[in-house]
Symmetry: C2
């Protein structure tokens, strides 16, 4: 059993590892960096996380949870297309608060790891599936409320939104400007609006 103090240490190591891997990449993050950032010894890191590979997978889970923590509340009450547009605005505002640096933590991990580590790749797939599921559930609820027509394929629309979000965040981080992200999300939402029931289109 892990003590409360042990849990706090574990949480601190994980949060610092997540921040470092986001800023410096997985390959660019050493245990020495992490020891300095978290104020722990190498043996504490090994004790809680085993090797760097296990730590990397824990970081993928960390960012996947953080994503859902941000998106789920916004997606939980999609009454109409305007609510979807508000979600997109919140994403752009969040990226702007970071000066459009960093992009998507999960996307950066995917880009670095997908071809180099199959276990990590599968963990990112789980993270993306949870994310797509949250978007799909939001669109599905809109449809259940009668805001989207029956023919709207919420699975495909959720995947298209996730792709627009991933591509938009990567372009925004590169251009250091919100316009590509805004355009990518708005264009996909404009398309979803074509599935809005006539009286609720906006």
């Amino acid at each position: 059993m892990i003590t409360r103090k042990g849990q706090a240490t574990r949480d601190r190591i994980l949060a610092e590892a997540a921040a470092l891997m986001f800023q410096q990449g997985v390959a660019g993050t050493s245990f020495e960096d992490l020891q300095a950032a978290a104020g722990v010894s190498a043996s504490q890191i090994y004790h809680y996380f085993g090797d760097k590979h296990s730590l990397t997978c824990a970081v993928i889970g960390y960012w996947s949870d953080a994503n859902l923590g941000f998106h789920k509340p916004l997606l939980a009450h999609l009454d109409d297309i305007d609510a979807l547009r508000a979600w997109a605005q919140a994403i752009v505002a969040s990226a702007r608060a970071n000066d459009f640096r960093g992009g998507c933590p999960l996307g950066s991990l995917a880009s670095e790891l997908a071809d180099r580590d199959d276990v990590a790749r599968n963990d990112v797939v789980v993270g993306y599936r949870r994310w797509q599921g949250a978007i799909r559930d939001g669109l599905g609820a809109m449809k259940a409320r009668g805001a989207l027509v029956e023919s709207a394929d919420v699975d495909q629309l959720a995947m298209a939104l996730l792709a627009a979000l991933q591509g938009g965040l990567l372009l925004a981080k590169t251009f250091r400007d919100g316009e590509p992200l805004r355009t990518a999300l708005n264009t996909t939402i404009d398309h979803i609006a074509s599935f809005a029931t006539p009286q609720r289109r906006s």
Copy 2:
């Protein structure tokens, strides 16, 4: 002046560096790797490219040229929405030929470098702008031929297509499956089809 033999050596070093950085990332590619792959000495690499930073920027240019070499011919004759769908199919087929590994070389470089190297970031921006420009020119030619209505904003639609492509390639590489890429491109093209002149919609 560079001799023909010198040019061939320079080209070989660049092609091998581009392949290595695509497979292993920039941080994961050493001059030792490159010496072995290209069969050259470290002093030859320094002679033609200076330091690793200059070599990295040359690799960004290499992949930007390769992108245009693939996309421009396909985008040069966009007569209608079907031609746009054929372009999307060619992209998915090309990714499938690579077993959906690797994703977009320019996108991977963007993801790794955008927050860590401002000169490289700007070079990727140039690459993305050329790419968006090729897509916009294709859509602009469609519009000039009367296949898209006047109100179609080809700048924004090109940016949305580029974002769908970048996000779709990243998801396809992670899922190791073409469906996210196909869905992302098809959804954006479905939206563009809503700007097709009525007799040419498909």
